[in-house]
């Protein structure tokens, strides 16, 4: 019995006609197998002793006790430490908010310049994009260390580092959103005789704003997390305190700090997701 004989009764309307046969599957199934082989090869290579990342399972088994008492300390937060954390925590929040606001002001025009639909000028667009790629490639901790050396220990280098970090992210995401958006309204404004600036301001900006606020809320969250790390290199906020208690092996105090950051991040997340729902 052939396949056609089986298929025919299933589609009564097509009785008498041969069962439909799809075109031959394109060749190239070996590509998937080759992909898996490549993944396996790379994994094996990175784990190989001498040339790989040197994962030593034996060392993990021997030393786990060293970490265990730290974990026990982390599970017993020192609540009496709370008053000393309030000021750095507020500083972290201030840094995050100020950096987000400044980044927003800088990123708005840059986003419009970085998107093909709102900036037909190829050279200018390419320059903006190239600079921002470099800005994004540098880790925020490196910005912070360099800026601490330039402007001194405190919140200012932290804020500057966060601004650079945020502008890179926001411009990337918002300009991609602009390029994905429908260009009809832009064409209409151009047809009405607007300059590119007028077209962007009167049509592109209103349509991009919800997405833009969305990204700013996102980097605000990122800033709270990041600014606690930046303090490790002297760039203000919670990180300075983290560095201090860690060097005295006060894991119970560190535990309280982590809890506080967690609470702040959770609250921020709740607030920003509520705000996002109203942004549609």
């Amino acid at each position: 019995m052939s396949a056609a004989d089986v298929a025919a009764p299933v589609r009564p309307g097509r009785a008498g006609r041969p069962a439909p046969v799809p075109p031959r599957r394109p060749a190239g199934r070996w590509k998937a197998a080759a992909g898996w082989a490549a993944v396996l090869a790379v994994t094996a290579l990175t784990l190989a002793p001498g040339i790989g990342v040197e994962v030593d399972l034996g060392a993990m088994a021997r030393n786990w006790r060293n970490g265990a008492d730290k974990i026990v300390a982390l599970l017993q937060p020192d609540w009496s430490f709370f008053p000393r954390t309030v000021e750095p925590l507020l500083e972290t929040l201030q840094m995050a908010v100020i950096a987000t606001a400044v980044a927003g002001v800088v990123a708005l025009p840059l986003s419009l310049w970085a998107a093909r639909t709102t900036n037909p000028h190829r050279a200018l667009r390419g320059t903006v994009r190239a600079v921002l790629n470099v800005v994004r490639a540098v880790p925020d901790l490196l910005y912070a260390s360099v800026l601490v050396a330039m402007v001194g220990v405190g919140a200012l280098p932290g804020i500057l580092a966060l601004v650079l970090f945020d502008v890179g992210i926001v411009v990337k995401l918002v300009s991609e959103q602009l390029e994905a958006a429908d260009t009809g309204a832009l064409e209409a404004a151009r047809a009405a005789g607007g300059t590119q600036l007028q077209v962007n301001r009167s049509v592109a900006v209103p349509d991009m704003m919800p997405g833009f606020w969305n990204q700013l809320l996102y980097v605000l969250e990122l800033n709270v997390r990041a600014s606690s790390v930046l303090g490790l290199v002297g760039a203000g906020g919670m990180g300075l305190l983290i560095d201090a208690v860690r060097s005295f092996y006060r894991y119970d105090q560190l535990s309280l700090i982590i809890l506080e950051i967690l609470v702040v991040v959770l609250v921020l997340e709740a607030v920003s997701s509520a705000a996002r729902r109203r942004l549609t």
Binding site: G184, A185, A188, A191, A192, G193, T195, Q198, S202, V203
Partner: protein, 280 residues
Amino acid sequence: MSVGLRAASGGAAAADSAAAALPAPWPVRMRDVVVRYPNGVTALDGVSLDLEPGEMVAVVGLSGSGKSSMIRTLNGLVPVTSGTVEVGGHDVTAARGRALRALRGEVGMIFQSFNLAGRASVLQNVLVGRVAHAPTWRTLLGAHTAQDRAVAYEALDRVGMLDRAWHRAAHLSGGQQQRVAIARALAQQPRAVLADEPVASLDPPTAHGVMSDLRRVNRELGITVVVNLHLLDLAREYGTRLIGLRAGQVVYDGAAADASDRVFEDIYGRSIRPDDVLGS
């Protein structure tokens, strides 16, 4: 440039005492216009036309016949490969930068997909029609003059959408959005209005409503209207003159009312089908 355009029309408007308060409508002159896209497709193949001021011209043809390209050469959205396009005596093909924008400011355009900024208010969208008449700094700050607002309100009132001025454009129905788009074109106080398949996305009753609005623009304001259509009954009912395009060439030019089904079969290059008519 803008001053020059106004001065040139001043004399014409004075001569026509009935339309003394309104800007004089513009004629359109196309000579041997060829449009060839970079991908090698010839959209217009030697089109020569003279459209009189105050005419309501229906351009019909199948999709791909060059209607859309033709209407876009009239305001320079599509550059011509060879030939000349003159609108109101101004050479569109030679105009660049400021001169082209001033010219576009005098020519309103309406699109199939309405092309409104969805997140902006109806009023903001209509004020886009004023960009060519406003300095860039006013547009950037959103500081529209009282006169520009008055023009926008009047345009909205003319299409019966004044009560929606503060609604978001995206919250309106398709027919309402197209009315707002017409108001945006009217806010330009245009000498000619170009409409590219203005009712192709609308249901039949709404389509007739929008076409009636366009007819009122033509009759009450005396503005030259060029409208692309693919439905023969709409072309016959609303056009005073009918131009048929096939494969980028003018294959019919005559009174719209006289165009029989034979004429349409000739333009389409096939027999009339039920979906070539909108019905009512």
